[in-house]
């Protein structure tokens, strides 16, 4: 019972990852293709803009998340903060990117709100407010998602450390809220969040989901360049994509390495700052600035959601008008007409996400059972499952696709499901593993001594006590699956169409209206999943306050 559950979980996650990476190395090491990559005009700038946007978005998100948590560290606000960041966590990168593009573009919602009364514009100005060459809109879009993610990761880490007492101690020594947090708590938390932070950095550098709708155009970020090569029919260009994906892996690895070296340098500076004994004077204004940025980002996020809905529903929509002139029945008819196989796409998306959620929970439960008393083993398994999130998706998914093709199962539902599980399992495990371990083992002992066998004890005691975590984990897996673009594209061999693949394809070809329509699904499905999970978790055991949340 103990070993097989863990082994299966590791195989499901590890085999495609390792095999994909090996295949990527095997097929990508092609000197001629490498030369062609390096001789591509603007490739240096393209790599630089990948690194620049990824690193700045990660750094800014981390700083912002810490400051916000420092300010909002009383119990009530922490809960509110989690609730406020939830919509942005649930909304996939792709939908957020498309939404932000619809807000910030010269003809976007923001300028419509301000025109003509404040700006005087009656025509969209000739600005590069998205696809800007410095990647600023891409950084803003990434920050929107990653700050919310890091706030959640940090508050989870916070419950593992005696942060409340440390904070109180620092404040009683005369430090303000911000410096108390930054000096007494933040270093402790940083030690715990290394892996998720690295994943944020890797995603920032290598993503296409946000770089397609928001990133610089000429040249695009490196991963977008690779993506455009990959969808090219010419085998020479294809080989270039292979070689380039290895280059991306190298660049990413070097950046992460440099970042971790930098972090230890910052650590010693930090200690000196702590030992200096200086109490921050202008803390209030710093906190105010952070809250303003946070509020601005929150508004941007909400506007993005509104913009998606408006754009999807709108017919013709002349520039300074805030609301489209025609909505309603005719545009809904136009919508259904404009979506070739629209209901099929939505259906595939939901079925795939449900299958990911159910299979994810079924795979994780035996391992959670086996490792319930082994904190060390749980940590190790968590790290192993997390490793695929530290690789550039594009690199190992190329390899995965070759393997799937040679096995003759590319483009099948099972292959896509498997690829989704790789990305969902770390989150499912992250919720269910600790929740299972937190159940007092004496409940099971009591059940057994009262005469129930192991199976009955699991069904009637353990499973109900884990049910709420299972619901949350399944909602997470569901929303991860809805959001996945590259895995669906590669494992599906372009034949499995989900909201994500269609939205990315339309955003890539610049048809934002179609992209917005598919983004509605992308935004709505995860929100519905979380809402359903929360409602169900509140409804079950509604009269039993002692059941763990």
């Amino acid at each position: 019972m103990r070993r097989p559950g863990i082994l299966i979980l590791l195989l499901v996650s590890g085999v495609p990852t390792v095999a994909g990476l090996v295949a990527a190395l095997w097929f990508g090491l092609d000197a001629a293709a490498f030369l062609r990559v390096l001789n591509t005009p603007g490739v240096g700038l393209s790599i630089a803009s990948s690194v620049w946007t990824g690193v700045s978005a990660t750094l800014l998100s981390l700083m912002l998340a810490h400051v916000v948590l420092a300010v909002a560290n009383t119990g009530n606000w922490r809960r509110r903060l989690t609730a406020l960041s939830l919509p942005f966590l649930a909304m996939p990168h792709l939908a957020t990117g498309i939404g932000v593009a619809l807000v910030l573009a010269p003809s976007g919602l923001l300028l419509r709100l301000l025109s003509p009364w404040a700006t005087g514009f009656t025509e969209p100005p000739d600005w590069f407010s998205v696809h800007d060459p410095y990647g600023l809109s891409l950084i803003a879009g990434l920050m929107l998602k990653e700050t919310a993610f890091l706030v959640l990761v940090l508050s989870a880490a916070q419950s593992q450390a005696p942060t409340g007492r440390l904070l109180l101690q620092a404040r009683s020594l005369g430090y303000g809220r911000l410096k108390s947090w930054l000096v007494a708590v933040a270093p402790l938390l940083q030690q715990q969040i290394g892996l998720p932070l690295a994943a944020v950095l890797v995603f920032g550098i290598t993503n296409v989901e946000m770089a397609i709708p928001l990133g610089p155009g000429l040249p695009p970020t490196f991963s977008v360049l690779l993506w455009s090569w990959f969808v090219d029919a010419d085998p020479q260009v294809h080989a270039q994509a292979w070689a380039g994906s290895l280059l991306l892996l190298l660049v990413t690895a070097l950046t992460v390495l440099a970042a971790s070296r930098l972090a230890s340098g910052v650590g010693s500076l930090w200690r000196r700052w702590a030992e200096s004994g200086s109490r921050l004077r202008r803390e209030r204004s710093l906190r105010g600035a952070a809250c303003t940025i946070m509020g601005g980002m929150w508004i941007l996020g909400i506007l993005a959601l509104v913009a998606i809905l408006l754009r999807a529903a709108a017919g013709p929509w002349r520039f300074p008008q805030v609301l489209p002139s025609s909505t309603g029945a005719d545009s809904f008819a136009a919508w259904s007409a404009a979506l070739p196989g629209g209901s099929n796409v939505a259906g595939t998306t939901v079925v795939l996400a449900l299958a990911t959620a159910v299979a994810g929970a079924l795979l994780v439960l035996p391992a959670a059972e086996a490792l319930r008393g082994d904190a060390n083993g749980r940590r190790k398994l968590g790290t192993c499952l997390f490793l695929p999130l530290l690789l550039p998706q594009i690199t190992f998914l190329f390899g995965v696709q070759v393997l799937l093709v040679s096995a003759g199962i590319d483009g099948t539902f099972a292959a896509v499901l498997w690829s989704h599980l790789i990305f969902a399992l770390p989150y499912v495990w992250g919720v269910i593993g600790p929740a299972r371990a937190a159940i007092d083992p004496r409940y099971a002992a009591v059940g057994r001594t009262l005469g129930a066998g192991p199976v009955r004890v699991w069904m009637t005691v353990t499973a109900p006590l884990t049910l709420r975590s299972m619901l949350l984990a399944m909602a997470l897996a569901f929303s991860v699956s809805v959001a996945l673009y590259l895995p669906t594209l590669f494992a599906g061999a372009g034949r499995v169409a989900t909201a994500a693949t269609e939205a990315a394809a339309s955003a890539g070809s610049g048809t934002l209206r179609l992209a917005a329509m598919h983004s509605v699904w992308l935004a709505v499905f995860p929100l519905l999943a979380f809402a359903a999970a929360y409602a169900a978790s509140a409804a079950v055991f509604r009269h039993r306050r002692g059941v763990p949340r």
Binding site: D440, A444, R448, T449, L450, A452, F541, R545
Partner: protein, 217 residues
């Protein structure tokens, strides 16, 4: 103390080791029906491990030698649910997802119809002075009430012997004496051999039985 007749809970030549280290000196004891044998010892002496061994829930990293006998049978190899040992912990450990009645029904042996089972449980609640508590959420009960429900749950499973792991420690002074009296009365009435692990002097005095101290080898 090697008298191990029928109706006895007997521990024979028991030693527990972790990483080759013996937790306490080889233990031999017998508990006669209706008596309470008190086990004391410093913390870390292996009191909880001893109880886990008796229940059959000892983690695999322990190396146990010796046997436990009940009513003339060696029960050492039986799974926990077949041993006929009931245990009460310091916390009442009522299942939080079940009502008070649900907890008691979980304990009650199977057999009768649903309706009869409910009647039995409600009658027992009544006898325990907890009439009308069946539908309550366990967390809404006071400490003394929870302890009573936990006791009732164990008794409904009709154990052949009882293990008590400092079960009165979490109660306030007023409740402690009452609940203790209740538990000991039931033990005597049902003639259950009982092993009580405790630090509390009043517990020892009330138990009025042999005292065994676990000592380091």
């Amino acid at each position: 103390m090697t008298v191990a007749g029928d109706n006895c809970l007997a521990i024979r030549q028991l030693s527990l080791r972790v990483d080759g280290q013996m937790l306490f000196r080889t233990l031999d004891l017998a508990v006669a029906p209706g008596t309470v044998v008190v086990v004391t010892g410093p913390s870390g002496a292996g009191k909880s491990s001893l109880l886990a061994f008796l229940c059959g829930t000892l983690p695999p990293e322990f190396d146990a030698q010796g046997a436990v006998w009940l009513d003339g049978d060696d029960i050492s190899r039986l799974p926990p649910e077949k041993r006929g040992l009931g245990i009460l912990f310091q916390e009442p450990l009522l299942f939080p997802h079940l009502s008070v009645r649900g907890n008691l029904l979980f304990g009650l042996r199977e057999g009768d119809s649903r309706k009869t089972r409910r009647l039995i449980v409600d009658r027992e609640l009544d006898a325990m002075g907890l009439a009308g508590f069946g539908d309550r959420d366990p967390v809404t009960l006071s400490g003394g009430q929870k302890a009573r429900v936990a006791l009732l749950r164990v008794l409904l499973a009709r154990p052949r012997a009882l293990l008590l792991d400092e079960p009165f420690l979490g109660l306030d002074d007023a409740n402690r004496a009452k609940v203790r009296q209740l538990v000991f009365d039931e033990i005597r009435r049902r003639q259950l051999p009982t092993l009580l692990v405790t630090h509390d002097r009043d517990d020892v005095a009330c138990a009025d039985g042999p005292v065994v101290a676990l000592t380091r080898p």
